[in-house]
Symmetry: C2
């Protein structure tokens, strides 16, 4: 388990899931809107040293999404998936695939809950195999996740 401020990541040994929760000091509507605005994605999605391009973000059932990260060394890392559900401002359910490992797909569910003006976001990622899940953990995903959502929290203070 990784914990930094309100950012908690859990991944049970031998399991298929990675769970992340974080509390943002903003109302749910604003958190959802900021999180799903394609124009804002480049300002928080992924590590800061990568420039992210939103190629597609069709936020509806069956819509496709594709983001490309451009690394400082010129490398490109593309990610894509399809939306199963976009229920504003409550829930997102979509598939996620890194194109560097085609065929290895995960299902992500993002839930937004508001209490006392703050919003708790819970992201559940379930993988097809434990190997895929563990590969993601070893890829530096935990540090990347903290940086991503730190950037998002910072952005929330400005929108």
């Amino acid at each position: 388990m990784t914990q930094k401020n309100s950012h908690i990541i859990t991944a049970e040994p031998g399991g298929l899931a990675i769970l992340m929760t974080r509390v943002f000091d903003a109302p749910r509507e604003l958190v959802f809107k900021t999180c799903t605005d394609p124009n804002l994605i480049p300002q928080w999605w992924g590590p800061e040293k990568f420039a992210t391009t939103v190629e597609k973000m069709e936020m509806r059932k069956g819509g496709l999404w594709r983001f490309v990260q451009h690394g400082p060394d010129g490398g490109e890392y593309a990610f894509n998936g399809v939306y199963h559900e976009c229920l504003s401002p409550e829930r997102l359910v979509y598939t996620f695939e890194w194109e560097g490992m085609p065929g290895h797909v995960l299902l992500e569910t993002v839930k937004f809950e508001e209490y006392e003006g703050k919003t708790k976001m819970a992201v559940t990622s379930v993988f097809q195999t434990v190997e895929d899940r563990d590969w993601m953990l070893k890829s530096g995903m935990e540090e990347g996740s903290v940086e991503t959502w730190d950037r998002f929290a910072e952005l929330l203070t400005k929108v």
Copy 2:
């Protein structure tokens, strides 16, 4: 673990997945084609006492599917999802949701492998929570799965 003929279902206690494998005595192209033909779905999908209607089956990335089962008592049970990948004749990846429990989504991966003229099909279903997975197991899914794929095996001898 349930095993009947070549039909094997495994679900680790406390886990998020249900795995099903089955060997069909037919070449992979035929198994894939039969499995993905909307006109044939009513002949094998689900228990025989239910009449299944294919409302949508858009077999491409981002395509939607929706099947409705009409029970002998007049009840209707609808299922839907989106296709993440349709790679003929190798692999299907799609989401699956029973409309009786909206928001509870699973990711299914179906792999088709051929050896010596037979085809091994492996279906991996991963759920968002252990509770959802266990609910599916308790719902009679195992018996339903055996009946479904028995019907499919029978159909394969006729197509």
